[in-house]
Subunit: 167 residues, 2 copies
Amino acid sequence: MRSPAELTEIFRANGLKVTPQRQLLFRLVHGNECHPTAEVLFARASEQMPGISLRTVYQTLTDLASMGELRSLDLGTGATRFDPNTDDHHHVVCDRCGDVRDVYVSGVERLPVDGLDGFEVREASILFTGVCPRCAEVGDEATPSQHRNPSSTTNPTTTNTAKEKLS
Amino acid sequence: MRSPAELTEIFRANGLKVTPQRQLLFRLVHGNECHPTAEVLFARASEQMPGISLRTVYQTLTDLASMGELRSLDLGTGATRFDPNTDDHHHVVCDRCGDVRDVYVSGVERLPVDGLDGFEVREASILFTGVCPRCAEVGDEATPSQHRNPSSTTNPTTTNTAKEKLS
DNA sequence: ATGCTGATCTGCACGAATTGCGAACGAGCA
DNA sequence: TGCTCGTTCGCAATTCGTGCAGATCAGCAT
């Protein structure tokens, strides 16, 4: 994503107004590697501009996303996350803490895909899940919560793909 | 996913009761290639068992999923979808109609991933998006699916005046 | 500077997808 | 046939966003 100054120019060049709220968000999102949610950005923004509306945060983020200056991500973590990194990349999510990191994968377009059967693929996004270094240190006590059933089948759901050790 | 009969045995063997509601859902989900949502299954179930609760549908589906007999998918289409196919596979979603199809990709675990930096990857899921053969035939007038879709690549829905020129 | 005017912002209600909870119900065993 | 505890049901509550409408303000013209 471009710098706050560049975004300001782009907005103005396109007939969009540059408000203090937008500028604040430009700054908060620029270079933000944390893949924040709208709520998180709202909290940060509120510190510097009490009274800013959550509605405005959503608005501005979707605007930036529709301009291609920001990517909005659905990583299955409940809320949409925003990523200023607009490169062609993918993500890893930590099962335990929910932390997200950008990863680069090459050769995706060369993968043999079976079953497409006429489907024209335009985009492929890979979502890796696992345990981040920090959580791995802490230990194993954090087991994925089980529902009511104590003794279910042994079969571990589907832990097959991308068996670690890849970089 | 296993057959309704097998599931019945498994449930009982695990001390879970086999209710008519559960059996109905076993049948509705078994071999269902449509990746239905809970709401859709609820509708189908209601036809055969008026009065069944949506709550029960959710309950049973999550139970099956936590037993590894069913995979629950978040494909960014708004609602969780359920897939009786527990093989190691991935999905393609049609941008236009929201249709989902299973695809098989080999060599995923051999992809070079850059930026992991200590992250232990346990699983990788690939989500392809594009246009299904049926929608491709129809042309461009096909309307997007009825699900709310967070994607940013398309028009900004309503009142956006100056923004229209951007995307 | 000052005024205009339409783009923005804010607050609130609404909507979709789940989940929490407690009371009524019923599957499976004695 | 009866008991008991797992299930079901229905409704409230929650989470994440979006639609709306009136109050405001950025940016251009005067």
